[in-house]
Point group: C2
Chain length 470, copies 2
């Protein structure tokens, strides 16, 4: 059959469809064959053309129907407003740190390291191996693969000083990412309506998990040295809080690393108030000029609940993290996890364990230190040279970010919008404050793709800033 | 150096350790070499032997220390009792349906199909392909891979009658398993303290997710035909509930499938009360003598929030599910998911999509129907012949389970314990009741491994029952 013939039938059927009401059934293929003296192949082709145009819809075994496109009543979901009641938590858009961009943009906004900083060969090999193993079809225990639990415990044990009882595999609960752990820990250790102390600024994901779980956030200010122990003690006394969430090593966003002395003092305050320190060791694999020692390694009294993730350092596809908790707190957390997601994919657990137990993992981490250092220093130098008004008070000894204070009065949302239009994406500092930001800040990730573009991107930032100020 | 020499040093150091206090540092390798006139290799070997015995612990770069095994004070976590406060939810042990067993046991207790019922070849191929793809290293959008969203929407679209606007990819949120979806839906659509109506009996995981999210469960009785629409209407009126959770196709545990007529009536009640029906289509791939049609396909007014999982039918390692919701309810659910876990592993999403779009998937599902039918009928026949006191009121037309009522007065926990001791595991019916069980029930999964063992296992059940009654 010629194209002409099918075009003619398409045109005739278009007229028929325009006159028909939505949902009408088209004549069967057999009767169209008869009516237009065409082959079944041509009729099928015609129907595909009409379906591609969105005019008809074929339900296999039932027939072809006129679609209600264009003439459909617009849906009305307004009844849901009453059913849903007012939100417990303001509905916020996706964080800047999670947004995807195209490859022609210089991305300072992301919360993740670029792909070239991941152990790609180890990850692919581990996943391929896991795909051939039992893990591809089996269901692991609720609290994790025993070997992976043991690995997380062993990592802490290596930093545990003599005289402190190190955690064991039985203290570990494997998680599908540390974000899930944050939600569970806030629900399990505090619960709706209860106060949870947090550094300000602190990780936006923790602020969001706290809001969603209904706990009441109590902010304490933090700086390059971490929070002031006396201020923390006041917050405990004033609010009766029993939980303090913090990132003692390379805090996101400030990059702060608590000194051993500061860590001990804070742990003393936490113990004195019969409280939990939720230690989020998010950047354990991202030391640059220091090696992070978890505070959890100092504690065998169950006061530190320790979160460690492999998602950022291994691969965003291998969402595996763990919480280490001792005493009844672990049972509470495990009960929340079981109700929340039952277990973590054994395939991802097996692949994660494979990656971190290869000799290549240590080699990768050593090389990563160098890469992060070069990127950090390049971005710092570009800022100092071209945007000296962006003040980085603390050069982070680890992590992925610079935390830059802008001159008072800077219109940060507008700066970020204009920079994005010029191909440079930046995260607004306000997302990291549980309350009002104290000054205009931005967070700049130096682990994004292609560091050679950093100087030009900072030039763009500077030009945009100048245009705003003019 | 001879073995004798190292044994002698081991023995001497054992005595030294027994006299030392825990945490003491051993002399350095160099001084041990000098003291025992041994080579460094021998000393290293000695230290490895002592470490294997658990007597010492080496911290690289720091030294070797006497371990506190045996002499350590028992940990005291009692302070946590005050910090944790009374639990919101009773802490329950892991459900019977999640427990792992050894291979010499006949497992009627599980909630999952046996490995021989999974599409093993498709799963392994898909995972291997995903491991080589971008998905192994990339971060997908928060609401899911667009192609997988489109697949879930398309599945519903195929059942959507003319005149009803089918859902699109934009209505879908991909989940890391449907259990996570239940928690999010309860939190997002109802919230702590709000009533949620549930069938009784119903899926234990939903009961647990509801408890953990703090909603108030309102049970309505259900039977082989589903719940009575008038009873449901009363529950809505009495409690002001705006949410009803149900499994209209092959309900777990009863196997009930609502007739189209019953489904329409229930949907009318839901709409009349301005409420949501959370349709948990857990057994969509497990039809035996019927094909399930989701109620969600009948609704374009946003009243049905639809949950579909691939974990049970594809592989327990591929924890991927989706919720389809329209209107503001979707935004609420997505906000909860973003706070809870940010995104689902793109590797698992890519692998799931790969499996369900292969021609082999349809072939697998057709074969699965036959296997499930044979197993169901074999277990039914065994029960009727050997344990006629176990009354299966409804032969399920799909799903994985038989729901058997036992004679009144049966000591179910003891029966289950004695059966387990005899190598047959069974799940107690009480777990499926949000309130008191109305009668003694057990749930028997006919999708476990090795159906040829079913008759003997039922014989064991019957003998155990007789021994109890004697």
């Amino acid at each position: 059959m010629s194209d002409d013939s099918s075009s003619r039938i398409v045109a005739e059927l278009r007229r028929w469809i325009a006159a028909a009401s939505p949902g009408s059934r088209l004549p069967s293929t057999r009767s169209l064959v008869a009516r237009y003296q065409a082959s079944p192949v041509t009729v099928q082709k015609v129907l595909r053309v009409l379906a591609t145009e969105g005019l008809v819809e074929t339900r296999p075994g039932v027939g072809t129907f006129v679609r209600s496109v264009g003439v459909a009543r617009p849906p009305d979901y307004s009844w849901q407003t009453a059913a849903l009641r007012a939100p417990h938590v303001p509905i916020r858009s996706v964080s800047a740190a999670l947004q995807s961009t195209t490859s022609d943009v210089v991305a300072f906004h992301s919360g993740y390291p670029a792909r070239e900083l991941l152990p790609e060969r180890l990850v692919r090999t581990a996943l391929a191996r896991a795909a051939r193993s039992d893990a591809a079809l089996a269901r692991p225990p609720v609290d994790g693969l025993p070997e992976l639990q043991a690995w997380f415990a062993h990592e802490l044990r290596a930093d545990t000083p003599a005289g402190v009882t190190a955690p064991t595999a039985r203290d570990v609960v494997v998680l599908p990412g540390s974000q899930s752990g944050l939600s569970s820990v806030f629900r399990a250790l505090a619960g709706a309506g209860q106060p949870v102390i947090m550094e300000s600024p602190t990780y936006w994901g923790a602020i969001r998990a706290a809001a969603q779980s209904g706990v009441r956030v109590v902010p304490v200010p933090t700086g390059p040295e971490g929070p002031d122990p006396e201020e923390l003690a006041r917050a405990f006394s004033d609010t009766g809080a029993r939980t303090f969430y913090a990132q003692p090593n390379y805090a996101n966003p400030t990059g702060a690393q608590w000194s051993p002395e500061r860590g001990r003092k804070i742990l003393d305050v936490v113990r004195a108030h019969g409280a939990f320190l939720i230690e989020d060791d998010w950047a354990h694999d991202f030391g640059i000029t220091t090696v992070p020692t978890p505070l959890a390694a100092q504690d065998d009294s169950g006061h530190v609940v320790y979160l460690r993730s492999l998602t950022k350092s291994v691969s965003p596809a291998i969402r595996v993290a763990a919480v280490v908790a001792r005493g009844p707190s672990r049972a509470r957390i495990l009960a929340d996890r079981a109700a929340e997601s039952m277990y973590v994919s054994g395939l991802l657990q097996a692949a994660a364990l494979d990656v971190v137990t290869q000799p290549g993992w240590r080699t990768h981490l050593r090389a990563l230190r160098g890469h992060l250092r070069e990127r950090r220093d390049l971005l710092l130098a570009s800022l100092r040279e071209q945007a000296p008004w962006a003040h980085v008070a603390h050069v982070p000894r680890g992590g992925l970010n610079l935390w830059a204070r802008l001159p008072d009065g800077t219109d940060v949302p507008r700066l970020i919008r204009d920079c994005a239009a010029a191909g440079v994406t930046i995260a607004p500092g306000a997302e990291w404050f549980p309350a009002e930001p104290t000054s205009p800040f931005v967070r700049l990730n130096f682990a994004g793709p292609d560091p050679s573009a950093f100087p030009d991107a900072v030039r763009t930032l500077a030009d945009t800033f100048d245009a705003l100020a003019a």
